[in-house]
Symmetry: C2
Subunit: 249 residues, 2 copies
Amino acid sequence: MGLLDQLRDAISTGGVEIIDLTAPLSSSTPILQLPDPFANTIPFQLEEISRYDEKGPAWYWNNIHTGEHTGTHLDVPVHWVSGKDGHDVSQVPIKTLVAPAVVIDVSSAVAGNDDFLLEIDDVKRWESAHGALPDGGWLLVRSGWSARPDVLNEARNPGMSAECARWLAEETPLTGVGVETVGTDAGAAHSFDPPFPCHNYMMGAGKHGLTLLRNLETLPATGTMLVVSPLPIVGGSGSPARVFAMVER
Amino acid sequence: MGLLDQLRDAISTGGVEIIDLTAPLSSSTPILQLPDPFANTIPFQLEEISRYDEKGPAWYWNNIHTGEHTGTHLDVPVHWVSGKDGHDVSQVPIKTLVAPAVVIDVSSAVAGNDDFLLEIDDVKRWESAHGALPDGGWLLVRSGWSARPDVLNEARNPGMSAECARWLAEETPLTGVGVETVGTDAGAAHSFDPPFPCHNYMMGAGKHGLTLLRNLETLPATGTMLVVSPLPIVGGSGSPARVFAMVER
Ligand SMILES: Nc1ccccc1C(=O)C(=O)O
Ligand SMILES: Nc1ccccc1C(=O)C(=O)O
């Protein structure tokens, strides 16, 4: 039996589970709030076109108004000035969108410290326990933040140090980092040197960010196959994305 | 070696290929044009928030304005009055989004007839040659329309007869039908009985539609694993979607 037939059977018998890592999109989806004088993204909003009425007797549909960086979304190199000659969101290689992922669990450290920053040593300790970071794959940071909807929208949130961001971008084979928070950088990162180091170094290295992920606590440390599906917006700096994880049970 | 490790290796060696079936999104993405007095969807549009300037010195990003039913998109039951008690686009079961797909090639019949309608007999002939339609899977109709960008935006386009739509919805185990055109119904379907029969019967049966697909000519008749990724819009009637096909080579 071919591999895809085996996959189909494993999905239907539960040997392979598909887990949705995407936060639902609505006007209450938390969004990043940049301090003055920077311009901010619009929140997600639907505008009804018709609903079984004179504007469309048999059909209901809406227009959508949202930011590229609203909800569960992908950041791509052109999002940052350091990556401005890199690819846009319609040009992300498929091998980045369907790729292995590993999960580092820092939720107990974050529980005691809203300003927790991931450090190189945390990742090196993870590697000692679980092996090398996946070549061309994703590091997903389980902070526990998705269980705290009260704070998702706040200016304060965990992230990573500038040193760790530079190291992940320049010295590991990863294609990207995924987080539970509204952005890949810490809430305080506008005051870091450089500002927003995760964006600065990752985009500068032609890499990616993935935000507002859910259900990371259901994933194993290694062995996940991630399917990241941004809209292929021509010239776009990012996109709301559906994110599925395939895991073996 | 586990199944997902085998999949990862097959993807990197080319034994399994991931094909992007999604049309790029831009202001020139073709959209459905309904006749008066019905309200129409807005086209896709980006609105710049900042681009390495005073509004955001290190970053470029946009707001997005689009329809739920613009570009490559998914139709779900609540889109139509016949399915109004069914699920919205945030509630589509994962087993519908990651599911087998088969391809019926009607491109030579369409080449001579812009108003071609798929009939029950066409699908029954396909079944005689290739086997049963996939339980919970997708029927993708290769019309060749994606190679004709000149006409994608026109009111005329191929589709299916009302009889065929009713039969696919009520007498087959499919979860949905995918097409290359801007909608699953024929351009002339507003005058059919019932109007827009594919929408009417498929949504009424709790099923789905998928539009503006590309690259169907690269897929085998059977054996594709489809990954359909609409945005999980709470209360939404559909969504622009990224669509990947996994095929064995
Ligand atoms: N940190 C930022 C600063 C400016 C613009 C966007 C961001 C994001 O986090 C984002 O990409 O969502
Ligand atoms: N045929 C239609 C009639 C009314 C509204 C939408 C449609 C679509 O095709 C659609 O779902 O894109």
